[in-house]
């Protein structure tokens, strides 16, 4: 049983989707419990997988028992890094599913079963992308997650959701085509789709093949569209802010992060860091673009009046953090980028959950509608504050430690522009979030002079969201703090995969000193 965990994660979600679809036709009320059960099982199994990887090293799982030398089998390959990312995905999926309970409560819509089918398939696709050891299989799962997310986004009530989803389809399809083309070139040159074997073939080619370069560039561009890397982010803000809250809460934290993860996977496992950093001289350019992404994202976030839009542009900046970190060709930069995948997923989750609650309870769309929120919804604000402090980078939240590692990498590899950009972005985040705190604390128009005494204080009444909305929010806030406190353990796991033999071609990244 335990050795079948990798496929069980996917099957639980896949059959969960099927069951939800079938039984939803009979009774809509069973959809929610079924979906939550499937996701809980997925979380439990991913914890099991993480334990296995920690104790027993890399898991290589051959679907259907078709082991590699025979030929056609698909491999699932899990080391400590993607075990952690897998756990992140399933946990975010579970928390957002709990959050979506209020959809069921309202139950005005006929679409509840459809929503949960798509939702489970989306999580399945993302989990599969992360654990797959096969470049083409990854494409299939990429399409599964993309198609489901188009549909989920199009379910938004506002009419702009449809157009947003449409432009997302166009961009997403272009991105996926680029990726597929890249994989095609790889297959052409190496004759295999298995990531490990592609890597062996590339090593054998000794970096001389321009086909491989073209393949890499195509894959990189495809993934950059998927992860909304500046300037290819145009689809993101509308798509993420006009979709239903429960959709944005799962799509915003996960889609871009999984894109970044796949890029890192390509760099580490498929092409190999030696080839990527030494053969291709792109690193400086990509770090430069990441700097632009960070600054542009921050500046555009400053200009927003809508809460969700602001978070969307922050995602653009955060993607810049991770791409920059990964391309610094430095041990700590890579560690920071991978750690930030996790910490940013939960920070974004926390932000979007809070935004969802504000929208539902108080109809808040614009930032200035948040006035007096500390009084009206103290618990929600408490969760939101934790997430905001993490975005600014205040210890002991995880946001501080990802910045610590990323800046350390930047300093060691001499990318001072990146260090400055990261600090500027922290300051911009401080401005953004304290603007919100100020509005939530003072109200729109603070009284003139020293008025405002005891008797005024009970005017507004607490109108807190219900438990099913608050639990995921507070859980994500708790995870943000726990990720920070236990960051040394997580970093140790990431390093194990980077330093050990689990990922090949690690000359550039192994060793703590980096390249100084």
């Amino acid at each position: 049983m335990a050795e079948q965990y990798p496929i069980i994660v996917l099957l639980v979600l896949l059959f969960g989707a099927l069951l939800v679809g079938l039984s939803g036709m009979v009774d809509r009320r069973v959809c929610f419990p079924l979906a939550v059960t499937a996701l809980s099982l997925a979380v439990v199994v991913s914890v099991g997988i993480l334990q296995q990887v920690i104790n027993g090293g890399v898991i290589r799982y051959f679907v259907g028992g078709w082991s590699r030398p025979v030929g056609i089998g698909i491999e699932l390959r899990i080391d400590t890094i993607n075990a952690l990312v897998l756990l992140t995905i399933t946990t975010v999926g579970l928390l957002t599913a709990i959050f979506s309970f209020r959809r069921v409560q309202e139950d005005k819509t006929e679409k509840t079963p459809l929503f949960y089918v798509l939702y489970l398939l989306l999580i399945m696709g993302l989990s599969g992308m992360v654990i797959s050891g096969d470049a083409f299989n990854l494409y299939v799962l990429l399409e599964v997650s993309s198609l489901t997310s188009y549909a989920l986004i199009a379910m938004g009530k506002s009419r702009r959701a449809a157009t947003a989803a449409f432009s997302y389809i166009i961009m997403g399809t272009i991105g996926a085509s680029f990726y597929l083309l890249g994989v095609g070139y790889l297959y052409l040159r190496t004759g295999t789709l298995n990531m490990m074997e592609i890597h062996q073939a590339i090593l054998a080619l000794d970096g001389s093949s321009s086909t491989i370069v073209v393949a890499f560039v195509l894959i990189l561009v495809g993934l950059m569209i998927k992860m909304a890397f500046f300037p290819l982010f145009g689809w993101l803000p509308n798509a993420y802010s006009y979709c239903p809250s429960s959709t944005s809460c799962v799509v915003a934290p996960l889609m871009t992060k999984v894109g970044v993860y796949v890029m890192i996977r390509m760099m580490l496992t498929v092409f190999g860091t030696e080839w990527v950093f030494e053969n291709l001289q792109y690193a400086q350019w990509l770090v430069g673009m990441a700097i632009v992404a960070i600054l542009a994202g921050s500046v555009m976030a400053l200009a927003q009046v809508e809460l969700k839009k602001m978070f969307c542009y922050l995602i653009v900046a955060e993607v810049g953090y991770m791409v920059g970190g990964a391309w610094m060709a430095n041990h700590w930069g890579m560690v920071g980028a991978i750690y930030h995948i996790m910490s940013d997923a939960f920070m974004t989750l926390c932000m979007f959950l809070a935004a969802g609650i504000f929208l539902k309870q108080a109809g808040v769309v614009r930032i200035d509608q948040l006035d007096g929120m500390f009084r009206k919804m103290p618990v929600t604000m408490a969760g939101f504050v934790v997430g905001a402090l993490a975005m600014i980078g205040i210890p002991p939240t995880c946001g501080f430690f990802s910045k610590l590692y990323l800046i350390r990498g930047g300093m060691e590899s001499g990318h001072w522009g990146y260090v400055v950009a990261l600090l500027i972005s922290s300051l911009v985040n401080a401005v953004l979030f304290f603007r919100i705190f100020e509005i939530a604390y003072f109200g729109k128009k603070p009284a003139e002079g020293h008025g405002h005494h005891e008797n005024h204080s009970t005017v507004s009444v607490i109108k807190e969201a219900n438990v099913s909305s608050l639990v995921p929010l507070l859980a994500s806030a708790a995870i943000i703090v726990l990720l920070g406190i236990f960051n040394s353990d997580i970093v140790e796991l990431i390093e194990r995969a980077l330093n050990g033999s689990q990922v090949i071609g690690m000359n550039v990244l192994s060793g703590k000193g980096g390249q100084g």
Binding site: I392, P396, L404, L423, A430, E438, Y441, F442, G449, S488
Partner: protein, 499 residues
Amino acid sequence: MPEVIQTYTPLWACLTALLAVIPILLLRKESFLREGATFVAGVVMLGFVISMVPEVLSGKVLECTLVQITEDVPIKFRVDGLGMLFALVASSLWIVTSLYSVGYMRGLKEHSQTRFFVFFAVSLTATMGVAFAGNLLTLYLFYEMLSLATWPLVTHHQDKEARGGGRKYLAYLLGTSVGFALPALIFCYVKASATGLEFSAAGFLAGTGIEGSVALVLLLLFTFGFSKAGLMPFHSWLPGAMVAPTPVSALLHAVAVVKVGVFCIIRVFTGVFGLEFLKTLDIAIVVSWIAAFTVITSSLIALTQDNLKRRLAFSTIGQLAYIILGVSLLEDRAVIGSMAHIAMHAVGKITLFMCAGAIFVATGKKYVSQMDGLGRKMPLTFIAFTIGALSVIGLPPTGGLISKFYLVTGAMDAGQPLLVTVFLVSTLLNAAYLLPIAYHAFFPKDRQLSSQPFSWKSTAEAPWAAVLPLCVTSILAIVLFLQPQVLLKLASLMVGDAG
């Protein structure tokens, strides 16, 4: 190396204030019990702190590691002479200020008193955390926590003025800590992570090959990054933050927040770089001159302020710069003086602030020009004010004399006659902006007022809960003159190690 004792007492001392939040919240309807919880927590916390004094005095160091938060650097408490000195000041003055807050907040019927006491307690936790921090990361963590926890206190009135003051407060404090102190911290982490960033008398940066302009930039990043110390040009949050209720100004802006700033800078000098290492680098003199500039400029500005709290705020900026100037001289006696000045100035300045608050509660007057002859109506308050002023100026019979004596002799040791002059000129300026207030309160310019005979019956003091604390602290200022040994011993522990 000093003997190390493993104990969780520093953690308990730190947690006491945080745990007090729970009863304060639960008892929010019963204001007497709520304030009772604050007092009990204050006394328990002081008890924990005092219980550690004998061991620290005997030259030992108390340590406890909470979590190994990154591979090399843990979250860790470490109590040495300097930390103990600061913890003693902060925890004992918390009790006094709590009593004062009760009198003040009730007297003015302020709103949201529960929130006020909750964040007051959280701020104290952060302050104790800074005092006991064993390494740079822990220090930074509690430093940021303090900035955030004091924001609701500064903006307590929730009006336009408070919003402006609060914005300035956060912009300066967060801007500099994220913009300057954080990169400096990470730079240290890159260079010296093997040392665990732990403060030591020799300095963990010694031997990492940092020198010349890099070292100077790093030192300046730290000095300006901890802008709670109010060093110019990052000082203007402090007068802005005077919009807070006076107990907040008193404890946080004369004692906790600003002293945390200078405390961090002293830590940087004595623990991060180490005095000996700084002497070989020969860069501290830059900081000395920035501090000297701040001393003189802020005193001159203070002279022109009519709002009493603003005048005191600028006086604080000058006094903080004394402390930074003292430690940047790198001479044993100057460093002892600047550490002792943390305590001496705290006691003197908190007295002055509480007097300002008591005057406001009793008469509603905020401006110096309105206080003519007020000493006849509020004799106790103004006697305390006079003592506090003497202490801040550095005249006998108050503790301020002791620390100033050490500072000036330290400047002589360092062979900086110009800086000695700075101290002396500034002392004159201090007298010029503080003493006239006290003098005119008792001997009004207005002939009519002065011709009236004084009688106790015509006095109108603030409520006893506001007057008692300021009497206590003014007596404390005199006691510190007569019995400064404990403080000086604690301070000299820090330079003794390096010697």
